[in-house]
Structures are given as structure tokens and as C-alpha cells.
Symmetry: C2
Subunit: 452 residues, 2 copies
């Protein structure tokens, strides 16, 4: 029973044995011949960064891929049956107008007039302006927009800027990058193997009981609060009142709010804010991370941005934007000029229409997934203003990694166990609506059978 | 005399006043109305990362751009006359075969069959294989190649992996990213304003006296040694013997060598290694950083890679590649799929030919620049196996920032002062060969006049 041992790995938080590269203990020993004065075995005397030793295992999403591949290797006859509702990876082709932005962006590099080399590390001026205008209705200024190769990379750069001494607060469950990069930066202690939480991170439990919105007021103060809405993985979209209370709290406690709005355009409910900057006073306390990935089909194309308001300050009065600018100019070299050309097309009226159509498509999938689990009889969350459906599992399933394994084995559907997003996700399963519609329909059929 | 004060900034290492965003002290004070319970002035209580306060000024290359723009603003009539031999930015269009790789890479994203979303964070398998085969002649394995959005970004990710506790050694002068990211990561103390060096970095002086190759043996041991060959800014390409001695030293001292080979294909002298892995024993001690930027015209397109050998180990025996893989998967999301398609085309036989032609073009420019300064009567270095020419200035010029200003003012040519690359660069000027040939010819004419 292979899956039993897989579950054991999961319980200890994905053990070292599941890492990408299995240590090759025998390598390097044959190299002594190169130099008679060499250090024995040629192992360097460089100490490993202790913060990396704290990380419990591989990053979640590659881990899911490895488990999928392991299953296929054991059951090659099932390879063609696999349907991925796992990582939130877009599947629909890039629509014509946006595509033409990319293609023309590439083509012009072959001409003397159109060629361009290094651009501003912060992004092309026109793209920054269009983001501010089209997406923020000029609530923010172009000079506050930093164009990047994606939200995940920006989160690391934000951590880089804050450095090792801040205390971070995260929703639990949450997108694993917030916690993992906090650990990598040295902000945390070790992971407590009983609670699965790292010391020195504030875990803000999000559950059906609090509408998946964190009760930061009841938690210890943190310097940096990570909040994602519409949420990955729970699919919850925070209301205006919730966000107002969070901004107020951050102002009172002197915290900086890092607001991850990567799924904002999926919001269809009226009155639900699509940006933290719709909230009064947010420009004094919030940074917003954003991305074209999920609704322009840019997951592989790579384009995002971060807004750092000009008035946001550290305790000493220095501007956060100046330090973020230093990270962007020193540790980054601008998003690809071809890709930025695609970003400009996204912000044309035609591009915006195409995006809306793509979102309709994925939200229709989300609806099918919701319906399926309602019919199965499990409580379902998310999937209306977000591309993720978050399913509450009955205790009989035996935890979310067990459910993941069972569904992979019985239905050949890849999901993501809630526990992968933090201890608070245990007992839940995340399903992504980004698959092609016919795959979603087929997956729904099989899921119903699997849970019968 | 505006330039006098500019020189003063330069002497203190580019002061805070030259940063991208001048602090707007008055901002944020008008926001108190948003919430009666707000912290006064709404300044956060988050401490600024102390490592950022140590950074002396803005990153060098944007600083050069700002000075250029300031000059144009003061002398708008000169705007059209400006020739940039400053930052190493490519100017020639991307040749047809490589371009077709990019264009087709974009086009296929518009089709159902060709669409792809997230790829492996380490890069497409085929690209990793082709890099190992075509560029390294299988000296390394595809699994040791990590494809990225460029060498600059990879250097930060390497620092991220090593963490705050290592001691880094750099060539002096050197590409500023090594030092700046060391400071940002907290590896260093403050900058000594008399020597312009940061405490806790080993500066390895490179000068005409030692052929611009560092004498690491005479310096204190470092954990991580950054070595760039062909060198930016000096243009020196290290010989096989020099690299052998460095690898031997790193093995003896247990140091890890980070070898920056971004300019390797510019090497035309027979016998000069294009990769550190041509040196026996290097796979136990070296990481190699590399890039398509400079010879495929990809400075704005963004594609590079880093090789981390599978046998390279930390002191505790753990594999460096595992930790670098953790950074790449957690803090990065893969290079753009469109761009990777262009990278594949670079590695076709046709792409390799196109690259060779581009390099010929730029090396011809370098030759013109060399000749010009030889005629002026200044000693000239580099420019034969590298796209940079490094000119020794006579004392009468009054330092490299003065020379930069004088040349900008008299000849409207943008260069880079050697001092921008570290204290060891004082008294030198770097000129880039990446301009169009007719601009280089014109610049050479004006430079001769300016120095008459």
C-alpha cells in the first residue's frame, strides 16, 4: 500500500525524502584526484543557511506534481485519465487581442526601430500608467506601480525588503509562499511538529466560523500582515466592512498590510472591493500585490505588479517605496519587454472584454464544482467570486492528504489537500476551476462516483 | 557649475539625495481624517530593515540614467546628440531565427494545442538539456541547470540561499550587484566612508598590476567568492592557469566560487575557458551564473541560467542544489514560456551562427574604442575577449566621475565611471561596445576632440 507511506510524509509536513533532488551521497568522493591539496571529499566549509534547514519539505505545488507523477508511474494505464484540478493553472488559450500584443511585442524586436534592450526595472511608463488608470481608476499613481514577473516573485522581494527582524502574520490556511519566504528570510523559529506552525509567525485562523476572515484584533500584533482576497485557497472574498476593519486595525497597531489581490477580477458580487485602495486610509498602511496570471492566461507568460503607495512609511519616517525600489532595481531587471507588450493589450478595452469572457468561463467551472459537492453532501465554500472551491471533508475521510490520495486513486483527479496550505486547512480540499470545461464535467462525474 | 556638486555626491558614494524617489516629507499628513483612532500621521510602527540603511545610494545603472536625464533637461538642445556607451545595453535587432523562436513561442499560446501555463520553475526540460549539451558539451547535466529571468536576479537568489551569515569576497572593481545584494542580505557591516568599502566583505583588488585577476591567496578567507570572467567592468578574461589556481584555492579554503560567465561567448582568444567547469575539480566548488542577454540581444527579453553542480555541498554535507532548488521553486515561478522558446532557438545551429555574427559586430566596436584611446594616449584594457573597454585615466582628469561628467558635457557621450564599480575602479572609465557602429564611430571622433 504505497499511499500509506505517502500519508506519513504528509503528516510530518512533507519530509526531506520528497525533495526534488535525493542527496547523492556517493558523489564528490571521486574528485580527490584533481588536487593533492584539496580538502578531503571537497565538501565546502560554507555553513548551510540555517533558515533553509527549518523548512519542513519541498514547496507545495511541485510536491503535488511529484505525487501525481509517482501515481502515473505506478499506473501508466491511467496516465490519459488524469484530470488536474490541482494547482491553479490556466488552460484556455490566450485570446486574440491579448495574443497580438505578445506577438507584436516579439516581432518588433527584430526591427531596428522597434528593438529595445533594458527597460526601467519598475516597468514601462505606459504600462504603469495604464495599470493605475484602467485597473485602479487613478486611485493610485503610476509612480506607485512596480511591474514584475509575477506575484510570487514579488512576495519574496517584499520579504527581502522587510528583512529578518519583522514578525509576519498570515491567514491559516494560506498561499504557502508567505510562510515559506518568512522562514527563508529568517523571521521565524523552527516548526513545531505538533502544531505544524513555525515559531514567530502569527497564524490567523480562517474557518467557516469566521467567514474565512481573520480576527487580527484577537491575535498578537505583527509588523506585516498578509491578506489574500479573493482568497487562495478558501475562495472567500472579503467584504468592504471586513477590509475597513482590517485597515483600521493595521493603522492602530502600526502594521503594514500586504494585500494579495491576484484574483480580484473574479469578483462578481456587487460592492466587494477589488483593491485594498478602495478602502479609506489604506494608502498609509497597505501594499498591494497583483498579477495578470490567472485571468489573461499568463501563468506561464509571467507578468504581475506591486503597488507601494508613496506615503507608506517605516517607523523612522523613511519611505517604504524607496526601499522597494532599491530591491527592484538591484535584484530584478524588469519584466520581459515582450510580456509587458502583452500586458498593455490586456488593458485595452478589447483585452478587458477578452479577460471578462475568460473569467466567465472559469467561474462556470467553479459553479459545476460547487454543485457537485453540494450533491455529494459536503459543505462547499468559495467558487463564486473566486476560481477556487474549498470543500469541507467529513471526518470519515481521514484528513485532507488522505482525501487527495483517495481521489487521485479512485477518480484520477488531482486536487490540493487543505493541509498543504497550513494546519488550518486540515479537513478541507481545494479544487481549481482552471481546467477545460469538458474535463471539469468529467471530473465532477467521477468525484460523485468516488464519494458514493 | 552644476557638475561640481554632482562630483561631491559621487565622492560620498552617491548620496541619498540622488535616490529615485525624493522623500516627500509632507505626504501622509493629510490622511488623518480617514480614521479618528489612527496612529498619528499614520506612520507604521515597522522598523526599516537596517541593512537597507547601510546602502550608500541608488543602484549604479539607474543612477547613470538619472544623470544623463538631468544633463538633457539642462541642455535640451543636446538631447539628440547623446550617445550611450554607458550601461551594457544591446542595440542590434534580434536576428531572424532567434526572433522566430520568440514569435512562435507567443503565437502558440493562442492555440488549444500549443497553450501552456505554469512550467517547471527550473525551466523547460528541453532547454535545460540543450544548454548542457550545446553550451557545456555535456560537462554538466541538465538537472544542474536552473533557467531564470537573468543573471542579476539569480545573484540575488544565490545570496538568498547563502543567507546573512556568510562572508563574501568580490573583485574590486566589480559588477555592483554582488556587493549591493550582500549588504541587503545583512552579510556586511556599514560602509567605511574613507575607503568606500563595506565591513565584512573581502575586496580583492584587480588592477593592471595583477592582470585584473584577484590574488585571493593573500586575502582573508571568504565563504563565497564572486568572480566574473570575461570581466565586467575591466574586460579581462581569465586564463586557464588563473582559473585553475582559483579553483585549487577555493578547494583548499573550502570556499564556494560563484563564477559569472555572462560574457563568455565574447571570448575569441584560443585556450581561454568559457566556463568554470572546463577546470578540473570545479564541480565541487563552483556555481556558474549565465545569461543570454548580451549576445542574443535579450537584455530586455530576460533569460539566463545558473548551474549548480549536483556534488556541491555545504559543510554539513547537504547539497547546495537542493537549497537553490528551494529558492527557485518558492521565490520564482519560471522564466516566461515565450522567452524560453527564444532560448531554444538561440541554441539551434542557426541561432548559434546569428549570435556569433552579433558578437563579431560588437567586438568590432570594442576594437574601435580601444584604438581611439590608444591614439589619445591612455592605457586601454579589455575589449578583445569582452564587450567592455576599460580605460586608465591620467591623474589630470581628476577621477572617474569627473571624467564621466566632462565627457558627457563636452562630447555628449555617456560612459560609466570606474568608481561606480567599487573603490578599486577609481581612475578608470568603462565604455560599452554595445552601441550601433555608426554611433561608436561618431563617439570615437568626439572623444578624441574632447581629450585634445
Amino acid at each position: 500500500m504505497k499511499f500509506t507511506s505517502v500519508v506519513v510524509y504528509a503528516v510530518v509536513g512533507m519530509a526531506a525524502a520528497t525533495q526534488a533532488f535525493v542527496p547523492l551521497q556517493t558523489q564528490g568522493t571521486t574528485t580527490a584526484r584533481f588536487s593533492s591539496t584539496a580538502v578531503e571529499g571537497a565538501t565546502s566549509q560554507v555553513e548551510r543557511n540555517e533558515n533553509f534547514a527549518k523548512l519542513a519539505g519541498g514547496y507545495l505545488f511541485p510536491e503535488i506534481g511529484r505525487r501525481r507523477n509517482a501515481y502515473v508511474q505506478e499506473h501508466p494505464e491511467m496516465a490519459d485519465r488524469i484530470i488536474s484540478l490541482g494547482i491553479g493553472d490556466t488552460t484556455q488559450p490566450i485570446p486574440p487581442h491579448i495574443l497580438s500584443g505578445l506577438v507584436e511585442g516579439a516581432k518588433k524586436l527584430g526591427t531596428k526601430e522597434g528593438y529595445s534592450g533594458y527597460g526601467a526595472e519598475q516597468g514601462q511608463a505606459l504600462l504603469r500608467e495604464k495599470i493605475a488608470k484602467v485597473l485602479y481608476n487613478d486611485l493610485i499613481d503610476a509612480s506607485e506601480v512596480f511591474v514584475s514577473d509575477g506575484a510570487k516573485c514579488d512576495i519574496m522581494r517584499i520579504q527581502q525588503m522587510f528583512g529578518p527582524k519583522v514578525i509576519s502574520a498570515v491567514q491559516d490556511p494560506s498561499y504557502p509562499v508567505y510562510v515559506d519566504t518568512s522562514v527563508m528570510m529568517g523571521q521565524t523559529g523552527n516548526q513545531d511538529t505538533s502544531t505544524m506552525q513555525y515559531d514567530n509567525i502569527v497564524y490567523m485562523r480562517c474557518s467557516p466560523e469566521n467567514g474565512f476572515f481573520p480576527d487580527y484584533a484577537s491575535m498578537p500584533r505583527a509588523d506585516v500582515v498578509y491578506l489574500c482576497s479573493p482568497n487562495n485557497p478558501t475562495g472567500a472574498a472579503a467584504t468592504k466592512e471586513q477590509l475597513e476593519s482590517m485597515v483600521k486595525l493595521c493603522r492602530e497597531r502600526g502594521s503594514i498590510l500586504v494585500f494579495d489581490a491576484a484574483y480580484a477580477p473574479f469578483i462578481r458580487s456587487p460592492g466587494v472591493p477589488k483593491s485594498i485602495f478602495e478602502i479609506e486610509g489604506a494608502k498609509d498602511v497597505a501594499i498591494e500585490v497583483n498579477s495578470f496570471s490567472k485571468y489573461a492566461g499568463f501563468t506561464g507568460v509571467r507578468l504581475g505588479w506591486t503597488v507601494v503607495p508613496s506615503g507608506l512609511k517605516f517607523k523612522d519616517g523613511s519611505l517604504v517605496r524607496d526601499d522597494f525600489n532599491r530591491v527592484m532595481t538591484t535584484a530584478f531587471n524588469g519584466a520581459s519587454n515582450i510580456v509587458q507588450s502583452g500586458g498593455l493589450a490586456c488593458l485595452d478595452e478589447e483585452g478587458q472584454k477578452e479577460i471578462s469572457t475568460l473569467i466567465d468561463y472559469y467561474l462556470e467551472n467553479a459553479k459545476l464544482l460547487r454543485q457537485t459537492f453540494e450533491e455529494i453532501g459536503f459543505p462547499v465554500h468559495g467558487g463564486t467570486d473566486a476560481p477556487y472551491v474549498f470543500v469541507e471533508l467529513p471526518e470519515s475521510v481521514g484528513g485532507s492528504w488522505n482525501a487527495f490520495n483517495m481521489i487521485l486513486e479512485k477518480a484520477q483527479v488531482v486536487t490540493i489537500p487543505g493541509a498543504g496550505f497550513g494546519p488550518g486547512g486540515e479537513g478541507f480540499l481545494r479544487l481549481s476551476a482552471f481546467a477545460p470545461k469538458d474535463s471539469v464535467i468529467e471530473a465532477c462525474k467521477r468525484l460523485k462516483e468516488a464519494f458514493q
